[in-house]
Symmetry: C2
């Protein structure tokens, strides 16, 4: 049978955007549908999402959260209850105006986010301080009618989780906002091998209706920033708009304090752009659908396939997500295919290896090959996967640090922004006019005010007034 | 602190519909939202759904299926590609006509089911016989603009899974249709403890666009039938409408043969109506979010809470989903609460029990109490849970068989349909006119043509012509 052609992708240095598009299609992550701005998550990317879901869901449950499911529709009048919120979202929602052949009495938007629905639910179900805290989460898809879209990074429909919590006090709600940001950062660093900066968004960049928005920011291979997750503190603004009150211990009515937090399938885009290379995807082992692929060499020779199967069974039994490719494609074709798909470890086994009681093992992250004894192979592969996981994080962190620039004045800012992309650390007076000037003149926006502040100057380089914060600036997806 | 009142529910014999509504709200399964016909799945019912998902998803993966995610919107022109399909669904879909503030060039329906989207995807991705079979599944919500709604049984939005497969031959597709019906039956009987009848739907009751629809039918406590899952064989009808072709081994283009199959959150309604009683919900242990609840008695007495915690840890370690309620509500209140919630096993521990090294254990399904030694308690509880699981199935099956009537002529049909609800077995000639006459005159519809046929007569009691099948008839939710 004719072998399929080895797929070629654009070099990332030549055209990063095209490289990205090549990977998402050629690694079979997505397919385009006839619905503009909506993508199909093929089995391979959905399996990555399932691994993300499973891990995060476990972390949410360990921190006391339970899952619920809210309707996907929000009546216009409900969306309008919190003023800032509706202003932020109304321009980009999809409206259902007909049910069957009849026009609806009130139009319904397809949820862009579910604060209003959770508020209505909490108004029904919170009566006493004994009902608090309410710690709910939802896995679903949401819709935002974006004009320009890109697979995983920005689409009209995307999958996400949205946590929504209600607390008796502002302190507890703020602690929750911070705790969930920590959960996200922990997940990104330890599972996706992606270093993140934790910080607060400036006022101009807050979520519609929030008192404070916290975010984790990551740096992609091309030096462009990506907001990887957000956690919002709402104060009692929504509670007042929706009448969510509880009787405290003295039987006095009080408003609750709320939070919400979310991450999306955008994380898959982040994995691609942090770890990928010119041979394709590179997946961190902890999130890879297939952690190791076994490729028999000269597999028609006696005993090769049997041995490959034996190794497969041993690794599987040890809990490694392993695949044996015994299809009739050539080993060379298979090497390219699993490189494209970012499988962390490749195991080659041929007649000569069998004689010597070894296999040849290649790492996807750095291409290193080594010979390993078949004896106790599951243990050595498990250790190798841990090595790869750590190595990917270290490499991404080193690259991120290398592409982070401390800027002390506008000359330096000009030079950096004109010559390269990256994280730019620069002091800021706190005035929105200066933030806007940086964006308009130098093309970089404020990404966040990092929790870990450094004092790299006393004044705002834009206006010369005293600086309040060090801000992380950059171009963003 | 004041104890909440014990919740009361309507007796199921007095008003079954009201009993059902009382349970879904008082066991905190659902809350109503301001979106008519859409319900909120509260943590307790969503946890049941998570258990259903987890088990079924494992069964789907074991049978070679992978998950994907398709867009929630279907352009009108795509929905119209298969004629029977659009006729069946167009009258009951929700239409998105506006994106942000602008009218859409083409209106989009919110998926009522995703055959058309999967067909488009398969048309893109199937080229060769080596791409077959395609075995995909999707977990999502769908929307059908129903006029009358009931929690879990019929709502405008509901959660479900939809499998969609494509095969090289009709035989393979038919085998898949049957295999997945078997998976559903196995799941319903072994996890939900709900006996089902497997069969084929009559022509008038087929899915829109299907060549054959298979279903599993269950009988609720009130003798009304419930379609619990369906599996459809499409032949090559969709393939021809969407141009899904593959090159066979002789490099000749052939159309694929397709199937789809689904179950929904309706299964939660089935659990309620098959097992529930006048004290509330009764959950089969394999699907119960909490399998055993520990209630300390006289918990201020020294050592009681410590012992309760010790038992909790032991059961948890043994993999039992256990909860310890050490709240300040009275034991009596707690008993009612967990009865309402259908927790399969209650474990009471007080000072006297401690002295004797025992606990008192009550089964939710039959109310039986017994004293069990604390030693090896996790083993005895695990065994008891298996007993409860089996007992629930036996009880449901006995009740179902008791409420199944073989009918030989119209006099018997009249007598049965006027006096009781249940499954009615009766022969049928195969003519739709007779099927309609049974429905119009006696108020019972054909539920399915069971795979397990019995010969209970030679003629159709309606027209007197030779009978072709034994049909299961009944009223249905």
């Amino acid at each position: 049978m004719a072998e399929k052609l080895v797929k070629e992708i654009t070099s990332m240095d030549e055209d990063f955007a095209k490289w990205y598009t090549d990977i998402v299609t050629k690694a079979n992550l997505i397919d385009y549908s006839s619905v503009k701005g909506c993508i199909i998550l093929q089995p391979y990317s959905y399996a990555i999402w399932e691994n993300i879901q499973k891990t995060l869901d476990g972390m949410f449950k360990e921190t006391g959260h339970t899952n619920v499911y809210m309707p996907m529709f929000i009546p216009e009048s409900l969306l309008q209850k919190e003023k800032d919120h509706v202003e932020g979202f109304a321009p980009e929602v999809a409206w259902v105006t007909m049910g069957g052949n009849e026009p609806l009495a009130e139009k319904l938007c397809v949820r862009p986010t579910s604060e209003t629905l959770f508020c209505e639910y909490y108004a029904h179900t919170i009566q006493s301080h004994r009902d608090l805290p309410k710690l709910c989460n939802q896995w679903c898809s949401v819709v935002r009618w974006e004009k320009t879209t890109r697979p995983f990074l920005r689409s009209r429909e995307f999958l996400w989780q949205e946590g929504h919590t209600a607390h008796a006090t502002a302190e507890e709600a703020i602690a929750e906002t911070e705790r969930m940001l920590d959960v996200y950062a922990d997940f990104c660093e330890n599972y996706l091998a992606m270093p993140v900066v934790k910080g607060r968004k400036t006022e101009s960049d807050k979520f519609a209706g929030a008192e404070a928005t916290y975010a984790i920011e990551a740096l992609m291979h091309d030096g462009v920033c990506l907001q990887a997750g957000t956690s919002h503190y709402f104060g009692d603004g929504f509670a007042k708009a929706f009448g969510i009150q509880y009787a405290d211990k003295n039987n006095k009515l009080q408003y609750v304090f709320q939070t919400s937090w979310g991450v999306t399938t955008r994380l898959i885009g982040a994995i691609i752009m942090v770890h990928g290379d010119n041979s394709g995807l590179v997946l961190p082992p902890r999130i890879a659908p297939t952690q190791a692929v076994i490729i028999p060499v000269a597999m028609h020779k006696p005993g090769v396939l049997d041995k490959a199967n034996e190794i497969y069974e041993e690794l599987k039994k040890a809990g490694i997500r392993v695949k044996l490719d015994d299809s009739d494609n050539s080993p060379g074709w298979k090497y390219s295919e699993y490189e494209m798909k970012g499988v962390p470890v490749r195991i080659e086994i041929g007649p000569r290896d069998m004689e010597n009681g070894v296999v040849v093992v290649a790492r996807r992250d750095n291409g290193e090959k080594q010979t390993l004894p078949i004896e106790n192979l599951s243990e050595s592969i498990a250790a190798l996967l841990e090595d790869v996981q750590k190595g990917l994080f270290e490499k991404a962190k080193a690259r991120r640090d290398e592409m982070t620039y401390a800027v002390h004045n506008t000359d330096e800012l000009k030079e950096i922004t004109e010559s390269k992309n990256g994280f730019i650390k620069m002091m800021w007076c706190g005035d929105e006019a200066c933030e806007k000037a940086v964006k308009d003149t130098y093309g970089v926006g404020s990404r966040c005010i990092p929790f870990e502040q450094e004092n790299i100057g006393d004044v705002c380089p834009i206006c010369g007034r005293p600086a309040k914060h060090m801000v992380m600036w950059g171009k963003a997806y």
